[in-house]
Subunit: 464 residues, 2 copies
């Protein structure tokens, strides 16, 4: 019996030990995993580390400021200090635009909310009696909070001023509530405003003058890299689908072929960046009113082009189904269309990056259009396809029509880029180069409805 008991005890202890061991190992694994993730984040973008140090610096600075300046009213913890520290923590964001937007929103909203609350308090004072005054204040509070909360649903207000509206409600409520006990409301509003201004100023100075991250530049780089990803796909696709290139550099190619996927879902992050960028002052190559909306337009067309590329990507893994004969015949124009469009997109990406007009783009567009016409006429020529089974042509026909669509999107993108270059005053590096794209003539031609049904596809591409 005792031996059995001892064994049971041992078993109990052992299982507890094993459980504990497992838990520790699991915890250790999680900590190591998080640490390695954190390290990766820093390696991916070292600005993240700099940002963290900047936030630490700004908070310490604003706290030291209050330590060395004891003339501010310190009674009751942070009536002043608190708001400045709070402002730094809440306002400091990764990019200058986001920080500026928050700081300006917070400053103006505090001013307006405080003023209105002082006004409401004065108005409530007219009620005279001690019981009526808080009731009047309560009614004001309820109605202002409800109305302004409702206004937050307005899409235009939400996009740029949502934070400001929230702070407006906050300040109005805080100053109103203090009015219940008949404090000096004006002084409270004034203190709150001045401390918030000190906090915002500290955050802004640190954010702008120590390794600033500009939202506008982020957007600029992001859209340029989107164009480059699409271009890389198209450059590789022709060779890869038609299986002419073999062997070397296949890993590089695989990443070229998958890179486009991040373009498909980039809409919301780009809109956020554009909203931030609108707050930013002149910096580097960008003016104050740089046409960020036009960037979004270029990017929208790129995304539409990306959907077609997504469809093209579906045919990459089925290259073995195409017979050698068809492949040989269709190879040349398909490759031509794909690589020329790829060239155009890559050159647009480079031109955007360097903020110049693209140099050789017109030649490539002409080549792409010619190749697309070739491809179409090849598909339209009845005789040359007689001996081939129809079912084999369907995937090729789809690829061809997707490529033809891609050409028309490329042209649209070039047009949109041209508008951007004009508004943003990109540099013309060489005045003899055929830099400007003749937008007008294309547009005119594409609007004319074609009468004959020879042109099979719905995107009519006019060859000049």
């Amino acid at each position: 019996m005792t031996i059995a008991n001892q064994e049971a005890d041992c078993g109990c202890f052992l299982s507890a030990w094993l459980w504990f061991n497992k838990l520790v190992k699991k915890l250790m694994f999680k900590v190591v995993d998080t640490a390695s993730n954190a390290k990766k984040l820093g390696q991916e973008d070292p600005r993240r580390i700099v940002h963290s140090l900047k936030v630490g610096l700004a908070i310490t600075l604003v706290s030291l400021f209050y330590y060395f300046e004891p003339k501010f009213d310190y009674e009751g913890f942070g009536v002043s200090a608190m708001w400045a520290v709070l402002t730094v923590v809440v306002v400091f964001e990764f990019s200058v635009g986001a920080t500026l937007g928050r700081a300006i929103n917070r400053g103006i909203a505090t001013f307006l909310g405080g003023s209105l609350a002082v006004g409401a308090h004065r108005l409530a004072c007219f009620a005279g009696s001690k019981t009526l005054e808080p009731i009047a204040l309560g009614i004001f509070l309820f109605s202002i909070a409800a109305i302004v909360t409702y206004l937050r649903f307005l899409p235009k207000l939400k996009a740029r001023y949502d934070y400001g509206v929230l702070i407006f409600i906050l300040t109005f409520s805080l100053v109103s509530v203090s009015g219940y006990h008949d404090k000096e409301v004006l002084e409270i509003a004034h203190t709150r405003l001045s401390t918030i201004l000190i906090g915002s100023a500290t955050a802004l100075v640190v954010c702008i003058f120590i390794c600033p991250v500009w939202a506008g530049e982020e957007l600029h780089v992001k859209i340029s890299s989107n164009l480059e990803k699409l271009g890389s796909f198209l450059e590789v696709f022709g060779a890869e689908y038609l299986n002419t290139a073999r062997g070397a550099a296949s890993e590089q190619k695989a990443s070229d072929l998958q890179g486009y996927k991040s373009v498909l879902n980039s809409k919301s992050s780009e809109e956020v960046l554009a909203n931030f960028a609108k707050w930013e002052p002149r910096h580097g190559k960008f003016r104050y009113r740089h046409p960020w909306a036009q960037y979004l337009e270029v990017s929208g067309i790129a995304r539409d082009c990306g959907y077609r590329i997504h469809a093209l990507n579906g045919y990459l893994n089925y290259k073995t189904q195409i017979e050698q004969e068809i492949r040989t015949r269709i190879q040349e124009p398909c490759m031509k269309v794909s690589t020329e469009c790829g060239h155009v997109l890559k050159e647009l990406a480079l031109a955007m990056k360097t903020m110049t007009y693209p140099l050789t783009i017109k030649v490539h567009i002409e080549n792409a259009k010619l190749a697309a016409e070739n491809l179409k006429s090849l598909l339209q020529a009845n005789s040359s396809w007689e001996e081939i089974i129809f079912s084999e042509i369907i995937p090729i026909a789809t690829v061809a029509s997707l490529l033809i669509e891609t050409v028309s999107y490329t042209i649209k993108m070039a047009e949109s880029f041209d508008q951007l270059a004009t508004i943003a005053r990109f540099k013309k590096t060489n005045r003899f180069a055929p830099a400007r794209i003749r937008t007008g003539s294309w547009k005119r031609k594409r609007v004319i409805p074609e009468q004959n049904t020879e042109i099979a596809h719905h995107h009519v591409i006019a060859v000049e």
Copy 2:
């Protein structure tokens, strides 16, 4: 001269008057425009009005609470009142999940941040001298703020706990700063925590018990309506593209055909809703750990299907290019595929809405697969297309292959829905109905690589 002067004066006055008039008109227009927009917002979704009233009520309640309970320490405005009011304003969100998430984040982060700050303060006290203590506190403040700000970049932490981490930094900073002047740090941390809990509780009670808006239900309804939009498109597309239905109810059809577009960019908003939904307790038909991630999977497949539908939509306006002969021949299978897929999607949407297993879905899927096979063999039959010019077939071939792809996505969606129904324990309304989809057999068949190249398209659809 005087007359000329008078005239000049008159002109000046007139132009000023005109300018002022214009300004007033512009302002009036803007006000009227905003008001009509605001009215529309309320008509679109009356819950927005209710939400605004709820926010007003919660703020007034928490402020009244402090008015009638003067036992709280009121010195220096809002040492306590302020935090509770602030918490209500900042925590109260449109849906219960978002509010709960913020409240829980805020509560736990305040507790942790406050505890750590008290610990840091005690540790700094060991330094002994009056000059060393603030320096030690400053170093703590800088390093904690920097490290925790850096951790905010971790994607997992950012998705659900970003607000909590921010509040952690905030509380730690506030309590630390108050330590500079040797206040009773523990008391401050305690007051802050208790007032934040009161504010959170007020916000939560109002949010949950007065007309609650559940993020989970929003997501449920949204994804169900996404499926319905895709289904409506497919149901109408067959008839519309092949131009068999004419005249009546064309406006309804136009909206059916454009509705799918909102599906393409719904990813981020759905992810946000799913994150909120994870915070929500059991409500209505939804358990606490309802499989929200599976909803996102269904929606992801729906979006992939949506990209194909976006491509199909491009062919809608080019129906006149198809010759009567081709149309007559291809009409039947195309219509069949399109309408059957539409039926399946609409039934999935209905089943999701009512949280039951779909009843007749299997029949429709079989029909769609058969029709797709028909379509394929029709396209593969070499003989029947001999007299037709090739270029005319390209758009039809593309439409046909897109429709065939749609069938395979529909099947994937049905499989994914079946998994969702199993995990979420949807009701089986009729045990004799062929409710469950035989997932296994499809999967097995689709994995087997087909040897013959007869099946032209890359999505091999197995007919059971």
